[in-house]
Amino acid sequence: MSRNLYDLIGLAAGICFILALKGLSSPKSARRGNLIGAVGATVATVIVFFYTNDGKALNNQTLILAAIAVGTLVGVPAAQKVQMTQMPQLVALFNGVGGGAAALVAIVEYLNLGEKASTAVVVATVFTVTVGCVSFSGSIITFLKLQELMTTRPVVFPFGRQIIALTLIGVLVSGGWVISSGGTTPLLVNGLLSLLFGVLFVLPVGGADVPIVISLLNAFTGLTVAASGYVLQTTLLIVAGTLVGASGTILTKLMAQAMGRSLFGTLFGAFTAKAQVSAGMADARPVKSGSADDVAILLNYAQRVVIVPGFGLAVAQAQHAVRELADLLASKGVEVAYGIHPVAGRMPGHMNVLLAEANVPYEQLVEMEEINPTFPQTDVVLVVGANDVVNPAAKTTPGCPIYGMPILDVALAGNVIFLKRSMRPGFAGIENELLYETKTTLLFGDAKDSLTKVVSALKAL
């Protein structure tokens, strides 16, 4: 295959990626967009086998095909079997291995070129190895956090700030060392320090900010792919990597905005981290806690019920239980709707995916702007495992971390029921005044257990 034909097909694949991202930005075309992207990626992979070596088989072709088979056998079942609640951490993991792959590609090419590598190529190599390693180890930590294999709270250790700063300096110095003197050892040191930096960079990030970090690391990986494209002089990799890097950056910013977080604060949380103290005093004011029967009675005699699902629902895998409750209420003539905050769940849009999986009718999912005016006509709001997205502090307490984030105005409804595990504040670490109001009833326990109990209590009524 001639170089020109190869490049033209590569260009077509690049266009596929642009169309894929475009398609993914609108609900109607999203699925098609993803398919176009997959087609582009497949074409790009297949033509490599025909281009190099003038039509002869690639060196090590059997081994390469075997490696692809192994990767497919790992990736596809993981993607198919993962529970929808655990999907964000799988995406994090996929992103991490992508970053790792880019770093390895750059390392191999560097070893291969030896003395022949130009300075520009060495710089690009260092960039790929550094950022790819950060993305790899950082993604592993986000995976561990989301999978709850380690604490989701920010991890702060003594002299953390200094250690992180020193590591970063080490990464930069070792990078300079590679560029000035070359050789394998400096690159190895650079890679190891970058891996360490990735870990230290993500550890102080709190659970709520993890999605933003995943998105950021995703953009990082995109840039490493672009840089490795420069190392290999492959246009397609530059196009694909840059597209992901740029769109990922915008997406990270949009996500941070939607969650009312500052991107800067998230990024440099590593340097400024102090244990997020809860702004309010965790005092022992009285709250009204009820039993499942109390909740069932409240719901039974309501005309209109709005369910506000949150993070806790996802954690407890309670999406099917909540749907059972909603169906039961509907059969009793109660009007039921779900109020979906844009960032409910682990990630923006995650809640829609989870509820769609539980076959909740799409019409019942109401977005924040539409549901907010209806709260005064709502008798009961059932908040399942959500906290920050209904916290009035976002409106009333300037200076608190979530101030300015749009919230669901559940306080305007007749009664508010919170299904909570404990009085612990939400991820943002802010006390919720709403919990102490007289119209509020709390039902403590695992969201799924509580919902199941309420359902059986309702049936008994």
Partner: protein, 108 residues
């Protein structure tokens, strides 16, 4: 090479810069509902590093190089194939707005 109209380096730089603008433009107004699938889709796209992994595996000169390159092929394939499959699964949930009746109770 030196007689080319624009040097290869400049061409690559131009491609890089133009891609940045396209990347910015393409996702600038996307609803929050689609943030997660979009991120996942973009994630799958950078799995195309698989192409790079195959190229370095092809011209690996030592066993160390080959081993690292093959590891890269495995990782990149996981990223690319897994990424597209999981994105598709996510987006399946969104389809069929009016009639949400689906009979694919697959893995449950």
């Amino acid at each position: 090479m030196a007689t080319e109209f624009i040097s290869n380096e400049i061409a690559l730089l131009a491609i890089f810069l133009l891609s940045i603008f396209v990347g910015f433009e393409v996702v600038s107004k996307v609803s929050t509902t689609l943030h997660t699938p979009l991120m996942s889709g973009a994630n799958a796209i950078h799995g195309v590093i698989l192409v790079g992994a195959i190229v370095v595996a092809d011209h690996a000169k030592t066993n160390l190089e080959l081993g690292l390159a093959l590891a890269a092929v495995v990782l990149a394939t996981i990223n690319m194939v897994g990424g597209f499959v999981v994105t598709d699964r996510m987006l399946q949930m969104f389809k069929g707005k009016p009639k949400a009746k689906k009979d694919v109770g697959d893995d449950k």
